[in-house]
Amino acid sequence: MAFFDRFKGKKREENEEKRKEANIKAEEDRAEKTANDEAKEREEALLRKDQGKEGEEERKENKRAGFFERFKQSLSKTRANIGDKIVNLVKTNKKLDDDFYEELEEILIQADVGVETSLELVENIRKSARKNKITDSEKVMDLIKEETARILGVYDTSLRVETDEKPAVILVVGVNGAGKTTSIAKLAYRFKQENKKVLLAAGDTFRAAAIDQLQIWADRVGVELIKHQEGADPGAVVFDAINAAKARKADILIIDTAGRLQNKTNLMKEISKVRNIIEREIPSAPHEVLLVIDATTGQNAVSQAKIFKEATGVTGIILTKLDGTAKGGIVLSIAKELNIPVKLVGIGEGMEDLRTFDPVLFAEALLEAGEENE
């Protein structure tokens, strides 16, 4: 909504007008193009599917495949969507004209990057192409990569769990169905692999069987869970869990919370209260407040990040379900607009499928697919 307001400067407005006109023209032209492209895309999609299958078999044989490969494999869908399109675009548009940039914009919008961020991203690429006297669209690929990596890469993505005072407390928050509980299980597994003593707290006392769900995970991973009954006060659970963690000398305490939509004022107050309780018991905690966001989420993810940040002081994002066809573009908007880094990504159902987010890798993986397909 604020998009137009921010472009209030007069000169900008004029430019906007021009660009919009060009936009419409370009759109009409493109309508014809897409029909042809679609058939081609379908063929390519089939090809990719086969390749994806092979990839999976390979993965089973060699579970310890290099991290980079694994990450890229899981992102193949993302790449297939954004990457291929961009590579296609580069191939069909040899010249860097308005058409090219308009189409680039469109591709980004379709990847859930958001109108505002897309426009800005394209504008930056356009400027830097002009400055560096790049006229060949092939070379602009590098610019796109650089620019996405720059937006995503200026933050520290490591988790702050090496604290002087034990335990390090991680609070996990998010809307309903984002994947909090599963992410917590994966996170606990990850720390366990690092020989840390982990304790979980079942702070979701609202949803039916949420406690049982976390209990099953805790048993699988082999960590202890502090829980109360369903319907209990989450604050009380957290209070107990912190004391238990101190008594048992746990290295890390991970707190699950009930999913809540960010516009439910009272529920947001409740979660602020949970944060306050943690702070009161351990002044330096929570050391991390991780917001879990489903990668299929559209522009609403920005609102989620914003409001959860206000209520709980989010320090990082876990982006889940990146193994679907979701394009994950919203990451760019969140990083840019709210300065919240993505710290972890969920890329599958397996216990080990929670990875550290690597912005450079992400940007590269995002754009490299097409090149591999050649």
């Binding site: 909504m1 998009f3 137009f4 919009k20 936009n23 419409i24 759109e27 309508a31 869908k77 469109e106 919008i109 379709q110 990847a111 859930d112 958001g114 109108v115 505002e116 809307v175 309903n176 169905g177 984002a178 994947g179 609202f206 949803r207 039916a208 069987a209 949420a210 049982d212 769900q213 209990q215 099953i216 995970w217 369903e230 939509l261 960010q262 516009n263 439910k264 004022t265 009272n266 489903d294 299929t296 989420t297 559209g298 522009q299 609403n300 993810a301 609102s303 379900k321 193994d323 679907g324 066809t325 979701a326 394009k327 919203i330």
Partner: protein, 448 residues
């Protein structure tokens, strides 16, 4: 509330149009460009936006529109029509065949809200006098079966489960179980899965083959972005969906998925999930939703909700009071308590035509504790003061504040709110009586 952001954008755009006596083709173009951006920002699918804009543009630049006396209104009408059409035109009911038991199958991605939704659906069907059986076919997610059992218990609907067995066998067995236990609808809760997971999609096909469902409903999170159409298309291609249930529409999403899914799959949205409570499942009305998106309010839903939760006699009395402007603080208190029974106030007031915008500033002021304060304040007044708040002067205010454990500012605020709601009610009564005369809407028995 969902769509709010989109509503704001569109209202701004249309305000500009409405003000103009004469509209040129260029004006239409400019407005449509902005509508396009507004829809894109609301996560409406890219291709759907393109088609939509083209259709509206084609109709809007026609001679009779631009030369009519109220071209702005005409264009809004066109957008409203097209938007209604985009979302499916009319509401679409469940289509349960004659065989017993009927079978409903819920499918979707992980975390879309399937389990909660099937429980809500079962509750809705019980209210209609049916005897549903919930079936736990999600054998993968830890504690999914337990979750369904807990929900089933809460709504008093039996749950059929066979542990971590093959879901196809579970589905098949559930039919026998339903027959021998006199249940007439079987609702299958399947595991969440990615639409590109071929193995699990195959499993759904097998379930479908085994039980031949009357309805295959895709459960879609209303916050989904551009990917919503990919998901819906994939599920539709593999299974032949009969409908969609949109969940989490009580969030502040701009709801583009709602506008896209029907357009892409041709499957109507049958229900929408509007809250965490198990009765928060509503029939989806495309026309009313379009009206809400365009900021035109949704008086029909409001009336239905009101009728469902109000005492007819009381309502009549209240209506009389409002019309005669005899509305007192006591009524105000009672009113607030009753309105709360209808659902979140913000949502309810948002349905009143033309109010969406004005409510912005008010919404934070209503919450649960606030209501308790208001009650205390009103109860600290004398009967005379309640009937006639004009007499409340400075010293009375001090006394009331002391009596209710609040501050004078709080008393002031309540009095102001009361004054505002009096005005608001006057607006509504004026509005409804006007509409009634025109015959556009049925005469509304407004319970305020």
């Amino acid at each position: 509330m969902a769509f709010e952001g989109l509503t704001d954008r569109l209202q701004d755009i249309f305000r500009k149009l409405r003000g103009k006596g004469k509209i040129t083709e260029e004006d239409v173009k400019v407005a449509m460009r902005e509508v396009r951006l507004a829809l894109l920002e609301a996560d409406v699918n890219f291709k759907v936006v393109k088609d939509f804009i083209n259709r509206v543009k084609d109709r809007a630049v026609g001679q009779e529109v631009l030369q009519s006396l109220t071209p702005g209104q005409q264009i809004i009408k066109i957008v409203y029509d097209e938007m209604t059409e985009l979302m499916g035109g009319k509401e679409s009911k469940l289509n349960l065949g004659s065989k017993t038991p009927s079978v409903i199958m819920a499918v979707g991605l992980q975390g879309a809200g399937k389990t909660t939704t099937v429980a809500k659906l079962a509750k809705t069907l019980v209210k209609q006098g049916r005897r549903p059986l919930l079936v736990a076919c999600d054998v993968y997610r830890p504690a999914a079966i337990k979750q369904l059992q807990v929900l089933g218990e809460q709504i008093g609907v039996p749950v059929f489960s066979m542990g971590q067995n093959n879901p196809v066998d579970i589905a098949r067995a559930s039919l026998h179980h339903a027959k021998s236990n006199n249940r007439d609808i079987v609702i299958l809760d399947t595991a969440g899965r990615l639409h590109i997971n071929e193995e699990l999609m195959e499993e759904l096909k097998n379930i479908k083959e085994a039980v031949n469902p009357d309805e295959i409903l895709l459960v879609v999170d209303a916050m989904t972005g551009q990917d919503a159409v990919n998901v819906a298309e994939a599920f539709n291609n593999d299974l032949g969906l009969t409908g969609v249930i949109l969940t989490k529409l009580d969030g502040d999403t701009r709801g583009g998925a709602a506008l896209s899914v029907k357009a892409v799959t041709g499957c109507p949205i049958k229900y929408v999930g509007m809250g965490e409570k198990l009765d928060a499942l509503e029939v989806f009305h495309p026309d009313r939703m379009a009206s809400r998106i365009l900021g035109m309010g949704d008086i029909l839903t409001l009336v239905e909700k009101a009728q469902a939760s109000f005492d007819e006699k009381k309502a009549r009395e209240m209506e009389r009071k409002i019309r005669k402007q005899e509305f007192t603080l006591e009524d105000f208190l009672e009113q607030m308590q009753q309105v709360r029974a209808m659902g979140p106030l913000e949502e309810i007031l948002g349905m009143i035509p033309g109010l969406g915008k004005q409510l912005k500033g008010m919404k934070a002021e209503f919450d649960e504790k606030e209501l308790a304060h208001i009650e205390a304040i009103i109860k600290s007044m004398t009967p005379e003061e309640r009937r006639n708040p004009e007499i409340i002067n400075g010293s009375r205010k001090k006394r009331i504040a002391r009596g209710s454990g609040t501050r004078v500012q709080d008393v002031n605020r309540l009095l102001k709110q009361f004054e505002e709601s009096r005005k608001l009610m006057k607006q509504i009564t004026d509005l409804t009586s006007k509409k009634g005369k025109k015959g556009g809407l049925p005469p509304i028995k407004f319970p305020f």
